[in-house]
Symmetry: C2
Subunit: 385 residues, 2 copies
């Protein structure tokens, strides 16, 4: 689906252009470490990646051993992908085409021993919210417990003993058939242990999501899984530092940011926001973005004075993982499906807190008081003339 004129990877470009001490310095300053600590993957995974045309990369985050706690090594995996067929096909066919391509990537994740896997936002459908058409797109909304996405993923969760985070368009039949942008958490036994609904809904560019669903009402849940405490900050929530903060306050060690965002809007922000959140909150963040260009059957306008058109723009992939200490992996491809694996030790969260002390020094009481005042209608900002 990707336009052939797109740069495949900025990270690759740099690593192929710089060398010696220049590359070392670039890596130190940009990635926070001179060595990416690439991990070997199995030959079978390499073959599958080649055959099925997805990017495959794995990195380690070596962490100091503690004297009183055992390491808590976890393999995190994230998947980015384009849709599987054109958007004018029957919905069930569209979904099946995505399932078919995702199956191959999940199998590689399983073979590589991934413990916690997260897919991209609304992974089982095209990102049709640019159209503002309710039909047929609302039909992709599905049940958290028994929808086709959950059914499809349960099998892999059980087979590989994997926790899977599945961001879908949710249909809540119990509460007025409402639609939500929701991440479903399936545990390693294939059981749905809970869900989180996107807290902040965009009204920018073609992201007309507020036409379809409301701000989430599930708070900032942290899911205490077999493989660590995880949370999900869905897409536009990454622009909101308070959203990231509350997942940290609730004890998250890994926060996934399943997204769908396009080059013209946000690409220069992409490497900044999820990484800043990892630093500020001393946890791991995994930023995931979809790939390729999605065209829709009917034309739509973008509220920018330009003529109607049928394409959403280029989803630039570039998924990456940041550690609590600010070190990060290179990004996956800008144009291809991909599986990124990071081997992490959750102990690094507390080690980073002990080193930097952001939680000790953050003065939450001051800010609770400040925000209480700021939300009043008669709030007077602190301005000195």
């Amino acid at each position: 689906m990707a336009a052939s004129t797109e740069l495949p990877s900025l990270d690759l470009l740099i690593s192929q252009t710089l060398s010696g001490s220049d590359l070392q310095e670039y890596n130190r300053i940009h990635y926070g470490r001179t060595d990416h600590h690439e991990l070997e993957v199995k030959k079978s995974s390499q073959s599958s990646a080649k055959e099925n045309d997805f990017d495959l990369a794995a990195y380690d985050f070596p962490t100091k051993k503690e004297e009183t706690r055992s390491p808590r090594i976890v393999r995190v995996g994230v998947i980015q992908n384009s849709i599987g067929t054109s958007t004018d096909k029957p919905l069930v066919e569209q979904r099946q085409a995505i399932f078919d391509k995702i199956r191959k990537i999940i199998e590689s994740a399983g073979e590589e021993g991934v413990n916690v896997l997260c897919l991209q936002e609304a992974w089982s459908m095209p990102f049709a919210f640019c159209t503002r058409e309710k039909q047929p797109w609302c039909e992709f909304a599905e049940s958290v417990e028994n929808g086709p996405s959950t059914q499809f993923l349960k099998e892999f969760a059980i087979k590989y003993g994997m926790v899977i985070v599945s961001p879908i368009l949710e249909r809540d039949e119990v509460h007025g058939d409402t639609i939500w942008n929701t991440a479903v958490v399936i545990n390693e036994a294939g059981k749905v242990i809970g869900k989180h609904r996107k807290n902040h809904i965009p009204r920018v560019g073609d992201f007309n999501e507020s036409t379809y669903y409301f701000e989430g009402n599930t708070g900032h849940p942290v899911f205490d899984t077999k493989y660590g405490k995880i949370a999900i900050n869905i897409c536009y929530g990454r622009h909101h530092p308070l959203n990231w903060l509350m997942f940290g306050v609730n004890g998250a060690e890994i926060v996934f940011n399943p997204s769908a965002t396009v080059a013209g809007l946000s690409e220069h922000l992409w490497a900044v926001e999820a990484r800043n959140a990892a630093i500020a909150n001393s946890y791991f963040t995994c930023a995931i973005n979809r790939v390729g260009t999605e065209a829709f059957p009917n034309e739509f306008t973008s509220g920018d004075g330009k003529p109607a058109h049928k394409e959403f723009g280029h989803f630039y992939g570039s998924s990456y993982v940041t550690a609590p200490n600010g070190a990060r992996t290179p990004s996956l491809s800008r144009v291809k499906d991909g599986l990124l694996i990071a081997q992490i030790d959750l102990n690094l969260c507390r080690q980073t807190k002990d080193r930097w002390g952001f939680q000790m020094t953050q003065r939450l009481d001051l800010y609770a008081d400040s925000l209480n005042k700021a939300i009043q209608h008669d709030f007077v900002p602190q301005v000195i003339q």
Copy 2:
């Protein structure tokens, strides 16, 4: 003072290594725009920069004209510098040596029409807090109203009609002779209009500042100057998203981040944090870091198991400016003193708010409530087993 083995500039390295469409893509993705919009500076400024060995760079941020508001074009300047002589000299001589070198740079800023100028953290002294010695370093603490730094800068404020932000070590004689890490705001008439005290004090690496001064008690003031609403987030406060947030809530259009931080600790975070703050809060941020290596007369330890030593490590400069839309300038040198000028239109703040809607969608009421709960001793995090 800078070690000759240090890379002068990562930005320069990239711009000299990449070319054509590769450089364009790097600039688009990394800086948020393909053109840096460099501004010409006067021949006399160029000569002064060469003669006095400081880096000089100026950039424009062209902004859309509105129909109902006039542009509010402001020239912002930031200065980064090494100290002026060795730290075993008499204190008054050390301070004078800094004044002497800063004078030249301020004069260039004045000649280039800078309207608002900010110096680095504790600019009139070495960053001696690594030593944990109270004497002689506490003697650098000075009065906000009448101290030598304020006296020195007033003259330039009046001469050039410039607002100057002067981050100093403050002595508060009225309140028990206490010491504070404080930014003084001097208006274009040479009058001190207020001060802000650093809200978050580090306890990391050699940053033993909590030995000397306490968390600030001045809130999050925004100074409504002739040239826009400005605020100051001092150094370690940049790691705290809530600190940035409250300056935004109080209406800041430009937030300066005068800092002193070293390569081994924070260089991979530097390009992330102040930039993220600009994006999240839809204002301009100016990140300023001192330059060079500072050695002290007596040895000290760093709490890292390593032998006692006399050097603080390399202050890596790299000051830069970010616009509310996330576009940024290249950094100043990693090794030289420098003056960075950015010509900005404050109207871009509101334009960015109208585009992205972060303020509309940030749900402050939700977070006021969440923080109220989080600060209670019997707080129960939202955890799903």
